[in-house]
Symmetry: C2
Subunit: 160 residues, 2 copies
DNA sequence: TGCTCCAATGAAACAAAATTGCAAATGAAC
DNA sequence: GTTCATTTGCAATTTTGTTTCATTGGAGCA
């Protein structure tokens, strides 16, 4: 079976294009072309290829939670009891399925998973903890951090 | 003359549009219009308004770090010594300024800041720790978690 | 009720951008 | 030097975004 992520053959053009798209993916291809010294169609073909290869994972609007009403950003460190491959995969599936969980990472260190959660209220978070953590007998402990200030929010990947 | 600053007022149309844009902001306005029962111009006006009001903070491509070459995602909990307003603001400025720091949150709990960092290599992370943590006498301790798997990555905000 | 005012809408016209077709340029292998 | 595969730029085409404008549907009020 092929690795889902293809061997990346990104040249300087691709990297420059990515740098622009990570800042503003509504930039016209013509403008990008001017910036990287390429024609608009050439830019378009490269973007299309990078989407197909999975280099570009998604194209999204970033929404300000405060503007959408009540919303709380929460970090959770989760430590599991059994770290067998099967148990870990199961946990990944459960965390991925939860709509409130925006980001889920499997990590080394004093925890096994780190979750970034956005919920409308603390009551929602409590309900989530009951469902995901207390209701999961493979969770040894979890530690909660509530964000008072989203100082910086980005998903940009250094490309240069 | 209209007041230039409106309190963010989102109706069901806006919320449905946001839900779509958070999933794929390249969706044509006509398609969005069909989905929410609105004409393309109406959709376009609402999107424009939400951008101006800051409800939509940015429009970006999400890049797969693994595809761009070496890249390591790291979480750091930072605890500071002095939590005066001035010291906190200073820390926020420093963390915001660091290009490697993708996300920075000021949190309650057993840490004061949580950082999400993406660097090309561990050597880069070590250099960063020397600069930001060891070189900052207000940092009491920091705890590092290295991501082995970016299970789920999103910045979506629940709007329903 | 009947009236104006105002904000928001949709249809159509219009402008801009994305996409495609194609010939030429580039470069690597032989 | 020839061939083959890739990538490019230009121009034509299609799709999408944006503006215009007349209309609709209230809210407030005499």
């Amino acid at each position: 079976m092929r690795n889902p992520v293809h061997p990346p053959h990104l040249d300087d053009f691709d990297r420059k294009i990515l740098a622009i798209l990570q800042r503003d993916n509504m930039t016209p291809q013509r403008t990008i072309g001017d910036a990287v010294n390429l024609s608009a169609p050439a830019v378009q073909r490269r973007i299309k290829r990078m989407r197909e290869e999975g280099v570009i994972r998604a194209d999204v609007s970033v929404v300000e939670p405060d503007a959408v009403g009540q919303s709380i950003t929460i970090f959770v460190e989760v430590e599991v009891i059994s770290e067998t491959a099967e148990q870990i995969e199961q946990a990944k599936r459960e965390f991925t399925a939860a709509a409130e969980i925006q980001q889920c990472y499997y990590v080394t260190g004093e925890a096994d998973f780190i979750l970034v959660i956005i919920v409308p209220s603390m009551a929602d978070y409590e309900a989530l903890t009951r469902r995901l953590f207390f209701g999961n007998n493979n969770v040894k402990r979890f530690r909660t951090f509530v964000a008072m200030d989203r100082v910086k929010v980005g998903l940009g990947v250094p490309v240069g």
